[in-house]
């Protein structure tokens, strides 16, 4: 009874705890943001000239590629933050304080919800930073106000999905080291989709995979909202994939949290 009525306040308390952790331990956050920023610079300045020519756009070259690669880099940012979530929940589970939480009359999911909400906020900060740097590099989005609002909503939704999944992965990991490795594929998936090159340049088998994996509709939706390319069915596919992954992650994580801790 009290569990139901206190779900909201307990989750808010746990969110405050996670935000304090981020403030006290900022190097982790900076490390997570560093990776996508380095990839942005690498892809624009090292590969951008050649890859941009291959896109065959009007202006071509580096500027064209910068426009193309942003959604892929944004996905990498989300993947990096989710990886951080897996690590921090795995670290949390090794601490005695989780045992204390389990013996208190608080909402069972609140520990995890706090992590998820904290990570979404962290992700939104990281995404803003990456877009800001892209603008400094010469990226000019042509999104209107509603596009921006939709973009924030879509990114938060994808972040929700990836974080619930990585919370479960972090809980399932026996050690902090494996928690940092298990979500690794999430960082690679944007490459195996339309994040860095169009899928029609890929060999048949890979192209088939690229077209049906969730990151491709994610990327196409974001690209559409940012620079106005057609979104088509990617929009509802993004919503469906996100809700599905979030639900799967939530159910999995809850089951892991409710089982007896083995010490």
């Amino acid at each position: 009874m009290s569990t139901v009525s206190h779900t909201f306040s307990d989750s808010a308390t746990m969110l405050r705890r996670n935000l304090l952790h981020m403030v006290r331990y900022p190097s982790m956050t900076l490390l997570l943001f560093g990776m996508p920023i380095i990839f942005l610079l690498l892809f624009v300045y090292v590969f951008g000239g050649t890859l941009g020519a291959g896109l065959g756009g009007a202006s071509g070259g580096r500027a064209e590629y910068l426009r193309y690669v942003i959604p892929g880099i944004l996905m990498m940012t989300l993947a990096a933050v989710s990886q951080g979530t897996a690590v921090s929940i795995a670290m949390d589970m090794t601490e005695g304080i989780i045992a204390r939480f389990r013996t208190m009359a608080i909402s069972r999911a609140s520990v995890m919800t706090g992590h998820v909400l904290g990570s979404i906020l962290q992700a939104l900060i990281g995404l803003t930073l990456v877009i800001g740097i892209a603008v400094l590099l010469g990226f000019r989005p042509n999104a209107g106000l509603t596009d921006w609002l939709a973009l924030i909503g879509v990114l938060a939704l994808i972040s929700l999905a990836l974080t619930w999944l990585t919370v479960a992965m972090g809980m399932a990991s026996k050690t902090v080291e494996s928690a940092s490795n298990v979500p690794m594929p999430l960082t690679l998936l944007p490459f195996l989709g339309s994040g860095f090159v169009p899928t029609d340049s890929m060999p048949a088998g890979l192209r088939w995979f690229a077209e049906y994996q969730p990151f491709t509709p994610f990327i196409e939706t974001i690209r559409g909202l940012l620079v106005g390319t057609p979104i088509g069915s990617s929009g509802w596919q993004t919503v469906a994939w996100s809700l599905g992954i979030a639900l799967l992650g939530y159910v999995w994580a809850r089951r892991l949290y409710d089982r007896d801790p083995s010490r």
Binding site: S2, H6, S9, R17, L20, G96, T103, I106
Partner: protein, 334 residues
């Protein structure tokens, strides 16, 4: 820390008048084919200190984890604070506080933030939470360290903060799993005083410990756990009657002296390899002098001598006929 220490025996008073704070019947738990708890029965009257004594691996921590809702029992009728453990775990959680063997503080938060976190999770009001945190910081002598991260605390401070966090919600029953393991003697004594004060305030304490002295100092009743079974239960005085007196250990420089002493003293525990004898004794000055006079008169020279007072090993020896499972010190030769 205001009340004077009270001898444990005088505190057993209210026992039996009210419903017990904790009652377990037929508590069982196993992991795979390894039985950890093999049918435990215990009753803890409200307002008393109950100590569960046993060596490492006896099942003490598992018992606490089950009674504090952390893990589920395989079988048993378990009631804590009047609530059934399996049917109303949240009602139990609302009534208890747990301070485990492993520090349960948030290292990245300050001492004060840790207490405020507990206050929020106990759903105390906005004003009450600050007041409660300040009160506990003062009571546990943590005011100076209040704004420092818990990671920087010493072992004793950390344990005090841990217990303070447990007390934020004014629990009626507190589980303390080896509360003084790893603490220096001074911190241990201050922890004992804190525990006594808590009980004076009406709280029920369920304590586990490896130290006979600790159970002796604090508990109204002691239960002895070995290999998942309770092998004895009673007041400290009752248990001590089961323990044989201590002994004096004599080490001899040569086999000749050793053999002579063994013949002279008769009924002793011999260790032929180490050339040591264990002579039963109360450890008092008179019996010690008598023993040395006896050896002197027979011109037997003793190399080294040590006085051994009864401890947990002796309790185990008396009650189970063997050394505690994890003890690797010596094999008795009888």
């Amino acid at each position: 820390m205001t009340t004077a220490p009270t001898p444990p025996a005088s505190r057993a008073r209210a026992a039996g008048s009210a419903a017990p704070a904790i009652r377990a019947a037929g508590l069982r738990k196993s992991y795979g084919d390894q039985t950890v708890l093999d049918g435990i029965d215990l009753v803890v009257p409200a307002g008393t200190i109950f100590a569960l004594l046993g060596p490492n691996g006896a099942g003490k921590t598992t018992t606490v984890q089950i009674l504090s809702t952390l893990i589920r029992a395989d079988d048993g009728d378990l009631r804590v604070a009047g609530h059934d453990l399996s049917r109303e775990p949240d009602a139990v959680r609302g009534a208890i506080g747990v301070t485990g063997q492993f520090s349960a503080v948030d290292n990245l938060l300050t001492g004060e933030e840790n207490l405020l976190l507990m206050a929020d999770l106990r759903h105390l009001g906005r004003r009450v939470r600050r007041q409660r945190a300040a009160e506990l910081l003062a009571r546990f002598d943590l005011e100076d360290a209040a704004t420092k991260p818990a990671a920087t605390y010493s072992g004793g401070m950390r344990r005090r903060l841990d217990l303070a966090m447990t007390l934020v919600g004014n629990p009626e029953i507190i589980f303390l799993d080896e509360p003084t393991t790893g603490l220096d003697p001074r911190s241990r004594r201050s922890m004992w005083q804190i525990i006594r004060d808590l009980v004076a305030g009406g709280v029920t304490i369920f304590l586990t410990t490896q130290y006979l002295e600790e159970a002796d100092q604090l508990a109204d009743r002691i239960a002895l756990l070995d290999h998942g079974k309770l092998v004895a239960e009673g007041t400290p005085a009752e248990l001590k009657r089961l323990v044989p007196g201590g002994h004096i250990q004599l080490h001899f420089p040569t086999a000749i002296e050793y053999a002579a002493a063994a013949r002279l003293l008769g009924d002793v525990v011999r260790d032929d390899d180490a050339l040591t004898l264990q002579v039963p004794s109360d450890g008092g000055v008179h019996s010690l002098r008598a023993l040395l006079d006896q050896l002197d008169n027979a011109s037997v020279e003793v190399g080294e001598l040590s006085v051994h007072t009864p401890d947990l090993d002796d309790v185990f020896l008396a009650l189970t006929g063997r050394e505690p499972a994890t003890d690797q010190v010596k094999e008795p030769i009888r």
